[in-house]
């Protein structure tokens, strides 16, 4: 029972925090809300016997990426959003577009619900596995990563390098030499 309780708690926190992310006006608050959401998700990962992923989530997402976001928000002195006057005439504000959008949203929700109902038949082995050690040890993870997925691993490292170079290039001031 405490397990279920923890689950509801964490998932509730995650959902509420995410809703607040998109609901806040000030981007700074959005970032902080998102960090809370990540924390809740990390808890869920631990519940799913994936401690490595949970820790990685905290370190990478909450620790690195969100800090980066904070830096940018503070650097740009991001103004709070307001609907500018010239904005009102934007084609995307037209009623037709809004109706289309809401219809698509409803469709998406229906599809997701349908998918969930199909998946509802798949029960069980989230419960079934014995011993967390058997599945999710870091050793096991490392072994699979460096044998079956080694190519993707190397490719990802190249990707990070490229992203790094790209980010530096893109954020330079005009006319600056590195």
């Amino acid at each position: 029972m405490p397990e279920t309780l923890v689950f509801y708690l964490l998932s509730g926190l995650a959902i509420v925090a995410s809703a607040l992310v998109i609901g806040q006006r000030n981007p700074m608050y959005s970032v902080l809300m998102l960090i809370a959401s990540f924390g809740a998700l990390a808890g869920l990962y631990i519940q799913l016997d994936a401690p490595f992923v949970a820790v990685a989530q905290i370190i990478i997402y909450a620790g690195a990426i969100m800090v980066l976001f904070l830096f940018v928000v503070m650097l740009l002195n991001a103004p709070t959003e307001d609907g500018a006057d010239w904005d009102k005439a934007h084609p995307l504000q037209l009623p037709a577009v809004t109706r289309l959008g809401s219809m698509l949203a409803v469709l998406l929700v229906i599809q997701l619900a349908w998918a969930l109902m199909e998946a509802a038949d798949i029960n069980g082995p989230v419960a079934g596995q014995t011993g967390a050690a058997a599945v999710s040890s870091v050793r096991q993870l490392g072994r699979t990563l460096f044998t079956d997925y080694v190519f993707a691993f190397e490719a990802t490292s190249v990707l990070i390098l490229v992203a790094m170079v790209g980010a530096v290039m893109l954020a330079r001031r005009e006319g600056e030499r590195s």
Partner: protein, 670 residues
């Protein structure tokens, strides 16, 4: 010697390469001398090969060299093999010997050209010699065909040598295209033979065919192949119906006319039939066609030559006519006689052309015989050599032409083709008449001054590369290089026939004996196959031959006499006859309107068809429209579609959303 055969075509080929690469930087002495030296070297090697050949036993008289394997594809194996046997021995000596003389002659004749044009001329001439030698040395159809096509190319290049003159380039194109039509039939013939026998090597074909029975009275595969090959020969050797290119080919320089259109290239068709004697012997119906076409061509060309006024045109039609004789010989099975006439004809026809070249050179380009006359005094060497050539071609006894022409006529009569003999005799008469008309109008009588030349008398300046300015009445005879060639060829015209003196006159007809093995399948008993070329045993046959000889001598002399009477004594008669029969005169002058017939029946329809239907309707209307239309459709489509690029990022996100929903729906539905 087996490994030196390739040198025979290789020397002129190297000459070509040097002249075409460096020609413009070489002086005329070097480029001309180099080209001539290549021919002389080739002649020397050829002579050595023939010498060696003569020392070999008759049954296996062939020297062969395989240079490399050219095509090896599945069942098809074609080597580049050169083979010298008695027939090709005669040919290579003619080509290299007379070719060398003409090269030497050309160094003087073409002297007025600038250095790079001079070198270009010699490069083409050498290339021609190389290809011609490949043609006659080839041991299989494909190798011969390489030479066949190559000489056609060089003929085009040399006819159109003075390319700035439209008539010359037109003539070159005409020659090439008409040749091509013949080549098409030639290829079909080759393919047919390959399909039937699986080989294209001459000796293997001969062996395979000799085992079959002749197709008498029927047209089977052998006859069909022979006819196709013969059509190719009519193209190359200017027989009816593909003879139209040869008179126009006179646009080229005169030495070219001598070499290509008298002595060598046009004889390729005759050689080809000789080379395939076994095949043709097994197709009597095809041989009959050959004989008839040859005889008709000889007669027709002779009649046309009677009224032509350009010195080279007369000689061109004479060539067509003499080639007709050669084909007549081949057609009645007298292969050796045909080759004999080819050999003697090379001498006197080349001589006549080179002599006319000397005349043209002396008169600074005048070619109309109505504006010549009296040149006997001014150009003695040219006159005497030309006269010897004319006597030889007319068939005056004991000159070379007499022996060869007589053998053809004898064989024709002896095989029973009396009507063809009559045609041949008639043509002999015409030959004598038009030839001596040419001689008398050109060299005898008084100088008929052309209107253009009359005005030149008032100007004192003449451009001449040999001497300074001189008046029109003083002409210079052939320079040493030209005179040398003329004299050698004159000697040849007299003496060349003595290798073929028939038994009836006490000779041994060495040439026929020499050539006989080439017309049999390898390994066959000599003299067992077709052809009464070797030895006329019966005394009755000898008496017949003597009679016919006397008849042809009489015809020749009668012809000369007739020409002397009309053009030496009473020129007015010729004009009166022309006036009396204007239609006939015009018909002959316009070459029986054959060119006009081809033009209306074939050329214009093709041209109009191509222009209107193929070009306008199809190429422009369909293909171009399709390509351009694709472009404009794409452009129009893009014009519509580009409105999707609204620039609004959120709109793009919206379209992505639509995509997601669709894809998700698809997967869920499945």
């Amino acid at each position: 010697m087996n490994r030196a055969l390739v040198l025979i075509p290789l020397f002129p080929l190297l000459g070509f390469l040097v002249n075409v690469s460096f020609g413009r930087r070489l002086s005329k002495v070097v480029s001309g001398g180099l080209a001539s030296a290549a021919m002389v070297a080739s002649c020397a090697v050829a002579a050595m090969a023939v010498w060696q050949l003569s020392g070999m036993p008759v049954a296996s008289r062939a020297i062969e060299q395989t240079v490399y394997t050219w095509i090896s594809s599945g069942d098809l194996l074609i080597d580049l093999t050169l083979r010298v046997d008695p027939l090709s021995a005669v040919m290579i000596l003619v080509i290299t010997g007379i070719g060398a003389l003409i090269h030497i002659y050309s160094t003087a004749y073409m002297h007025d050209e600038n250095d790079s044009e001079f070198a270009r001329y010699f490069s083409y001439l050498n290339l021609f010699a190389a290809f011609m030698l490949v043609l006659v040395l080839g041991a299989s159809f494909p190798v011969m065909f390489v030479g066949w096509e190559g000489v056609g190319l060089c003929s085009y290049l040399l006819i159109g040598f003075w390319y700035k003159k439209k008539s010359a380039t037109d003539a070159g194109k005409k020659a090439f295209i008409v040749n091509r039509i013949g080549d098409y039939a030639f290829i079909l013939g080759m393919l047919l033979l390959f399909a039937q026998f699986g080989t294209l090597d001459f000796q293997q074909l001969a062996t395979s065919i000799s085992g079959l029975s002749p197709e008498v009275g029927a047209v089977g595969v052998l006859s069909l192949a022979s006819l196709l090959l013969f059509v190719g020969a009519t193209g190359k050797s200017a027989q009816i119906p593909l003879h139209v290119w040869l008179p126009d080919a006179m646009e080229g320089p005169t030495p070219v006319s001598a070499l290509i259109h008298a002595a060598t290239m046009v004889t390729a068709g005759v050689y080809m039939i000789g080379r395939n004697a076994v095949l043709f012997s097994h197709a009597p119906e095809a041989l009959a066609v050959v004989a008839v076409v040859g005889a008709l061509t000889a007669l027709m060309a002779g009649t046309i030559g009677l009224v032509q006024n350009d010195i080279k045109r007369v000689l061109a039609y004479s060539t067509v006519s003499q080639l007709g004789y050669m084909f007549l010989a081949m057609g009645v099975g007298a292969f050796g006689a045909g080759i004999f006439h080819l050999y003697t004809h090379a001498f006197f026809k080349a001589l006549l052309f080179l002599g006319s070249g000397a005349v043209i050179h002396a008169l600074h380009g005048q070619q109309d015989i109505r504006h010549m006359g009296g040149l006997k005094r001014d150009l003695p060497v040219t006159y005497w050599t030309f006269l010897i050539g004319a006597l030889a071609i007319a068939g005056v006894p004991f000159l070379s032409g007499f022996f060869s022409k007589d053998e053809i006529l004898y064989e024709t009569f002896h095989q029973g083709h009396v009507l063809l003999w009559v045609v041949g005799a008639l043509t002999s008469l015409l030959t004598a008449v038009y030839m001596f008309r040419l001689v008398f109008l050109t060299f005898h009588g008084e100088r008929a001054v052309a209107p253009a030349e009359a005005s030149e008398e008032t100007s004192a300046h003449h451009a001449s590369s040999h001497e300074g300015s001189h008046s029109t009445t003083h002409l210079h005879d052939a320079p040493p290089a030209m005179a040398f060639a003329l004299i050698v060829l004159a000697l040849g015209s007299i003496l060349a026939g003595y290798v073929g003196v028939p038994h009836a006159l006490g000779g041994h007809n060495q040439l026929a004996t020499w050539l006989a093995p080439s017309f049999e399948a390898p390994g066959a008993a000599i003299g067992a196959g077709a052809g009464a070329v070797v030895g006329e045993a019966a005394a009755g046959a000898e008496a017949l031959e003597l009679t016919l000889m006397a008849v042809s001598s009489l015809i020749a002399l009668a012809g000369i006499g007739l020409a002397a009477f009309v053009w030496l004594k009473r020129r007015a008669i010729a004009q009166a006859m022309a006036d009396a029969y204007p239609g006939l005169h015009r018909l002959l002058l316009n070459k029986y309107y054959v060119d006009e017939l081809y033009d209306t029946a074939i050329v214009q329809p093709i041209r109009i068809g191509s222009q209107e239907a193929l070009w306008r309707r199809f190429d422009v209307g369909v293909i171009d429209a399709a390509v351009n239309g694709t472009g404009s459709v794409v452009a129009a489509g893009a014009d519509v579609l580009r409105r999707l690029q609204t620039g609004s990022v959120r709109a793009y996100a919206g379209s992505m959303f639509v995509g997601v929903v669709v894809v998700l729906g698809y997967y869920l539905w499945r």
